[in-house]
Structure formats: structure tokens, C-alpha cells
Symmetry: C2
Subunit: 457 residues, 2 copies
């Protein structure tokens, strides 16, 4: 036999069992999105390169998968350019489309393109694959799903409050214990201003972001290495020492930033979001106010959110924040919003590690009828059809043959119940029903079959 | 403002309303697939070109979207090849991956790749987009979804019987009246043999396939033009004149093909499939035995299935059949099966034309709370959270502001109920609930809200 075919590196096939697990995650996220009034959209896998290029930095441009123009793509390319053998320049002449790199840029493009039809505030969710020509490695794929929910056209912090509950609901349903880390870009800006380094926001946050990993001393060394003055580093220390309860942390930030308008504003926003979220309904997730949280600073302008699993060592499994200017790159300024993105692949890893899938996930078929011949299979087909009428999934083993093989098939497919119609059952007008996990077998009438299947475990 | 961004021609965005409708179709198909024991898989959007090329004919090879290799893709290309400016040859050197063109070839690749893990018979379904660099035109897209179910590793006609009921179930649920056209490749082979033109199967079927459109006389002219002898055309006439009930048609075929083994076998298969399907449970679809049905003859080896909507003039909305050799192209012979593919885009068009969507489809949110200020919104957030606990989708308008604007928003989003908590309601501890379609307004207690929302239309 020829060599087994394979798939491009960094991509994956999903088996029936993996799909059952993935669907469980996507269905959970999707149903919670809907519970909060988010509505689904989809955008094409291919976008014009003019839409994608320049939106993810130079590195991002390189990681875009580009589609070769159809037909005689070289016909319009001049000799000179070809002679230079410059792949980068040639790309622009032979490729006009690329695969979507994330869901944010297509969403921004969508908002601008349909701005006359969209009602603001617009709450949309989108669950689709994205593609990146990254070097494949463990846990990093070239094709993976993003699950994004955003509300745009509203500055209200009510949106943040609801997003925190939405996150809590998703992980409560999945059974994953999480901490929701919260910060606010304005607090970071306030700190930078207070310590006299308003232009060094990124340097400061990149360094303090590492405090959990490398410790306070090394962070201070890095700050110095990045050129911060000793006085500034000294002034920063009280922020790095903040601890206690959420209320204590917020109070401390309030005190420290009392004289910096932008910082005060950030603390007020944080306080409103945290207190309101906690007061309107109980949450299972711990809220963790963390000024070292600095994700997406080139993009987020207010609230910053990151979710960590408590029982598995893994990076962030969800993240998001508030932005001021979703659509400016497409010439439409002033569209602000707040959004969240669930990392389906990492959530999948967490559920696998902790064994948190409900037992019935793999069972799509409730009962398999064995096939013992033409007449017998006819009776089985009839009963299977009537079970499906009652919403019970059923299948008939297609080939008449050895019982042992058929039972093994049901077992391999995690089908919990097997129904047997042989000569005896045909004569008596009954069905023998076997529970594959308990081994229990009983004889039932055709009319009693649906009830029996619905009640059996 | 800059020019509006756009998407590549032949691709589509799906708005929230379109997604609601599409999800209704996909959810229906998916749930019926599961009811019959089909299990979902997914394959990557990108396949190696070695997997895709040569599987769809020369024309198909051209219609594959090819992905440009990452990085300096020209570095390995020699001067000579570049100098020829031969796009086709260059493609092989600068592109290794392509977008999936259908779900059948990736499925075949999947079966071969995981042959040691898959239990036969293997019932899989797959609902994913495919891409074709076709010239875009009305109703033909460069990105569209396919919804395929196949069972491989079983020759039993029980599979065909169940597929007919599966098709019937899908269209019954969608409310589309359909005819299921049935034929069998072996009948066509029998006819070709009987009339002395066994090697002209394709010529014969291509011509008689047009009988509905161009009439008997023109079909006979075309048969002559394709080089069939007058005696052969004469011998073919009884087949073209077959009509009557399904039983009568099968009986007539049986008589006409009595002396041709392959034809007899085809009729026997057809008879078993039709009679068994009709005997095990009532079907709403009409079964239409049609010897002019000739789809997929380069591929199908037994049963051929095509579904037509009865109330809309549109091409086939579903099709499928039995094949002998799914995986031969990948060096693994002997894998037979039968499958069906639902055309989601055409089904969408049929439902739109006939206005068959259930009314509640666009309503993802059951109730919107208006926002009348900080205290009021807090009470609204609390109640929204408690409704969601009961599984009722609810949202809170994020910005405090004019009632009229907020009501208009709910109306535009087809949210059926609006809950109002103003100063009076806050003081009284009540909620005013307004039904936007009837205009009816009533005052309820927070505890009664969930019950009221569940019962209201």
C-alpha cells in the first residue's frame, strides 16, 4: 500500500470523540453568549489582503496565509520584478487574498461595511477558525478556533459587569474553577504618570508583568535595565507590594493614585465593575485585581480581563478588554467597545487534564439494534424509526452477522444499550434489551421500549 | 471617510439574522444526522496539494485555491523555470497546500490515515465550508458549506433505507415538500448492455438526463448525434416511456431487464430499498423512481439519490449515492459506502422563497431591561442575572437614556418583551413588563417574572 496520506503540519483532524468534546465546549460557550443577548455573525475565511495587511504588525503580515491568484497569475508581473527574485514584492502581485488571522479585524471590517444596517450597541459573537503561519509547536496550531463576543457602540461599564458574569457562567457550566484577573489601562497610565515616566508605560508593564515568574528583585533590575530612573523605581514599589482582599487592593490603589486624574478614573471604573458584578449575583470565579496584568496594551484602553484556570498550570484561557477605536483603521473613528475571547484549545486541554467531561458526551446513539437477518432487521428498522419519532437516537447494525462482533461494535462506539430481535423475539413480538455497562438484560414490548430507554442509565 | 472595505467576490458575510436562519438549517440537519447514529468529524481547511490534485479532473485542479508557501518561497525556484513565466509549473514550486474543495476527498484521506483506529462500518457526518475558485454568479459561491453523511465499510442496503428516512426526516422538520428521485447505476449499465451499447453508458445517460427539459424527440436526436445506432435508440424507447406508480415502474424495469444480470441486480436493489423504506414507517417525501437520473456516474456504483423541492423551481437540494471505492486513490482499495450531501445554500433559498422559517428564529433574547439610571440598572442587572439562572436569555440596555430609543432598539432586534424598572417600580419592588407585539403592559413581582416570560407569546 502507498504511503499514508497526511495533513499540513500545524493542522488537525478531529475524530468523532474529539468533536464530541469540542462541541460540548462550543455549545456551552454559544448558549451562554445567547443567554446574554449576543448574536452570531460569520465572515468569510478569505479576506482581501488590503483588509488584513498592516493590522498585526510586520510580524503578523508574515504570518498571514496568502492565497495564490487563480489562473495565469504571472501574466501581469513584469520581467524586472521577477528577475529580482524578491518573494515579498512578488507576493503583492500574485496574491490578493489571505486567510483570516483573527476575528477582530474581520469584525471591524464588518462593522464599517454594514454600518448603515447595524443597530448600536451591537452585541455580536463569532466562533470560527483562524489561520496563522506560525512555527507549529506543542499547543500552537496553524488553524484554531476563536470564540469572540464583543459589544460595540457603548461606553457603559454595564457591559463589563455582564461580561464578567458571562465568563463566570461559562466556566461554572464547564466545571472549571477560575480566577478572573482584572486591571485597567488607565490605572497603568496613572502609575506611569505618578512615578514621572508617563511615556514608559509599556516598559514598566512588560517588566512588572513578570513579577510572578521572576520575583520583585529581578523586576526592579529589569526596570533599571530598561532605563527607568532609581526614583521612579522607588516610587513604583508601593504598587508592587499591593495585596490583601479585592476591596483592600482597590482602596490602596485609590489612595496611591489620589492625585492622578487618569489613575483615579481607572480605579473608579475598576471599583464599579467589581462591586456591581459581585452585588448583582453570586459568582464562582475569584476576582483578582492585578496591576501587573498588561495584556493587549497596544489595543485596550480601559478594563483588561484575563482568566486563569486554578487547577491546571496553563496560560490564560480567556482574555479581553475595552478598546476605544475598533474601526479607525478602516476610516471610521469613534467606535468603542469591550470584548472577550475564549481560548477553545486551552479550555479543551484543561477539561482533558481534569477529566471534566460529562459521561454522556460520547454517546450520540442511545440504542443499537443488532441485525440477525432479513425479517429480524425489518422489525428492527421499524422500531428504530419509531424511537426516532420519539427523539431517541437509534441505529440498526447494517450487516446480518455474528452477535459478538455486533456487540463489540456497540461497545467500541460507547452505545449504552443494545436491542436484540431474533427468532424468539419475532415470534413473541418482544425485544430483548441489554444494558452494556451493567450487563442487565430484560424483555420488553415494542410499546414499552421508548420508556425503558429513556429511564435506563 | 475612506472607501468602505469589502470582501472577496464570491464570498459572503452572514448577518445575525442570516446566521439565525442558517443555524436553523444546520441544527436541523445535525440533529437528524445524530438521531440516525452519524458522528461528526472535522478536517483542516488546508490539505496538502498532493491530497487534492488529480481528484477532481483537470478543471477541478484549476478551481483549487492554492496557498502560497510562507517565507521566501522563491528561494528554491530555479532561474529557468522563472524565465518561462509558466504560472502552472511555478505553482507546484511555490505552493504546497490548498483549500478543501469538497468533503469527500478529505474524508477518504481521513479514513486511510486513521484506518487502524476507525471501527467499520463507520457512520460519519461533516458540516464544513469548502472553497472553489469558480466564476462567481447568482447562487454560486467561492465559499459554501457542505453537509455530508456517509457510512463506509458496509455493502448492506439497510444503509440506503435509513438514508431515505433520514432525508425524509430532515425535510419534514424543515417543512419542505420534496420528491426523492432514485435510480441505480446497475440499471443504467443493464440498459446500456441490453441495447448493445455497453460502453456508451455516459453518452446514453447524459442524453436521457435531459428528457424533462428538451423532450423525447430531442433526446433521440442527441443520442443519434452521439453516435448511437438507430437500433440501439429504438431499443431504448421502452425505458424512456416508463411511467405509472413506483410499483409499476419497478415491475416494468424488471420485465425489460429480465435477461440482463447486472440490470436485474439493480432492479432488485431498487425494489428492496423502496419497499423496505415504505414499509418500516410512513414517509412524507414522494419516492420517484427515475431512470433518467444520472448524477455522479463517474463515482456512484449502485443507488443514486437526488432530492427536488416540489414547491420551488430550483435544482437538486440534496444528492448522494453508493460507491465502491472511496479510498482507492490513496492506495486503500475495497472501502465501499453510501452517502448523502445536503445543499445548505439551496435549502436556504427554498426556505426564504416559501417563508418557512419559524417565527421565533430571530429572537435570541427573550427580554430586554431598559436602563433608567444607576440604581434602576442595578435592579435590572440583578433580575437579568436571575432570569439567566432559569435559562431565560435577557439583556440590559447598557446606557441610561431615553425610553423611546431603548424601545426602538428592542424592536429592531425583534426582542419580544421589554422590562421597565423606573423610580416607581424601584419604590414598589415591581417590574413593568411590556409585550412589544401586542402592546400589552402589566406589573409583575420579581419572583413572578420568569413564569410570566415563559408563558407570554
Amino acid at each position: 500500500m502507498a504511503q499514508k496520506p497526511s495533513i499540513p503540519k500545524g493542522t488537525r483532524d478531529f475524530s468523532t470523540q474529539e468533536m464530541a468534546r469540542r462541541n460540548y465546549i462550543f455549545d456551552t460557550i454559544r448558549s451562554v453568549f445567547r443567554l446574554y443577548g449576543y448574536r452570531q455573525i460569520e465572515t468569510p475565511a478569505m479576506e482581501n489582503l488590503s483588509t488584513l495587511m498592516g493590522k498585526y504588525g510586520d510580524e503578523g503580515d508574515k504570518l498571514l496565509f496568502k492565497i495564490l491568484n487563480s489562473g495565469d497569475f504571472l501574466s501581469g508581473v513584469d520581467e524586472e520584478l521577477l528577475a529580482t527574485r524578491n518573494s515579498l514584492k512578488l507576493t503583492n502581485r500574485i496574491s490578493e487574498k489571505g486567510l483570516r488571522y483573527d476575528l477582530t479585524v474581520p469584525f471591524a471590517r464588518f462593522v464599517v461595511q454594514y454600518r448603515d444596517e447595524i443597530k448600536l450597541p451591537f452585541k455580536r459573537f463569532q466562533i470560527q477558525p483562524v489561520w496563522r503561519a506560525d512555527r507549529p509547536q506543542k499547543g500552537r496550531y496553524r488553524e484554531f478556533y476563536q470564540c469572540d463576543a464583543d459589544v460595540v457602540g457603548s461606553d457603559s461599564l454595564v457591559n463589563e459587569v455582564e461580561l464578567l458574569h458571562l465568563i463566570d457562567d461559562v466556566f461554572k457550566r464547564l466545571g472549571i474553577r477560575v480566577a478572573i484577573k482584572l486591571n485597567n489601562r488607565k490605572i497603568l497610565a496613572g502609575i506611569a504618570e505618578l512615578i514621572g515616566e508617563p511615556d514608559r508605560l509599556i516598559d514598566i508593564t512588560v517588566a512588572i508583568d513578570k513579577i510572578d515568574k521572576i520575583g520583585l528583585e529581578k523586576v526592579n533590575e529589569e526596570l533599571a535595565a530598561r532605563g527607568l530612573q532609581p526614583a521612579a523605581i522607588e516610587a513604583l514599589q508601593p504598587f508592587l507590594a499591593i495585596d490583601g482582599t479585592t476591596g483592600e487592593r482597590i482602596a490602596r490603589l485609590e489612595t496611591l493614585l489620589a492625585d492622578v486624574a487618569i489613575g483615579r478614573e481607572g480605579v473608579e471604573e475598576l471599583r464599579y465593575v467589581v462591586e456591581t458584578a459581585e452585588t448583582i449575583a453570586p459568582m464562582e470565579a475569584c476576582i483578582d485585581v492585578d496591576t501587573s496584568l498588561a495584556r493587549g496594551l497596544n489595543y485596550y484602553t480601559g478594563t483588561i480581563i484575563e482568566v486563569k484556570a486554578l487547577d491546571v498550570e496553563i496560560g490564560s484561557i480567556t482574555g479581553g478588554g475595552r478598546y476605544d477605536n475598533l474601526t479607525g483603521v478602516f476610516g471610521m473613528p469613534g467606535i468603542s467597545g469591550v470584548g472577550i475571547s475564549f481560548g477553545a484549545d486551552r479550555i479543551y486541554d484543561v477539561l482533558n487534564t481534569l477529566g471534566l467531561y460529562p459521561g454522556e458526551i460520547g454517546q450520540t446513539t442511545r440504542v443499537m439494534f443488532v441485525n440477525l437477518g432479513k425479517e429480524e432487521s425489518l422489525a428492527a428498522l421499524r422500531l428504530a424509526a419509531s424511537l426516532r419519532e420519539s427523539g431517541i437516537s437509534a441505529e440498526v447494525y447494517p450487516e446480518a452477522g455474528k452477535l459478538k462482533k455486533q456487540f463489540a461494535h456497540a461497545d467500541a462506539l460507547h452505545i449504552p444499550m443494545v436491542a436484540i430481535i431474533g427468532a424468539d423475539e419475532l415470534a413473541a413480538g418482544t425485544v430483548s434489551l441489554k444494558n452494556l455497562s451493567t450487563g442487565e438484560q430484560k424483555t420488553v414490548t415494542p410499546d414499552g421500549l421508548a420508556a425503558e430507554l429513556a429511564s435506563a442509565n
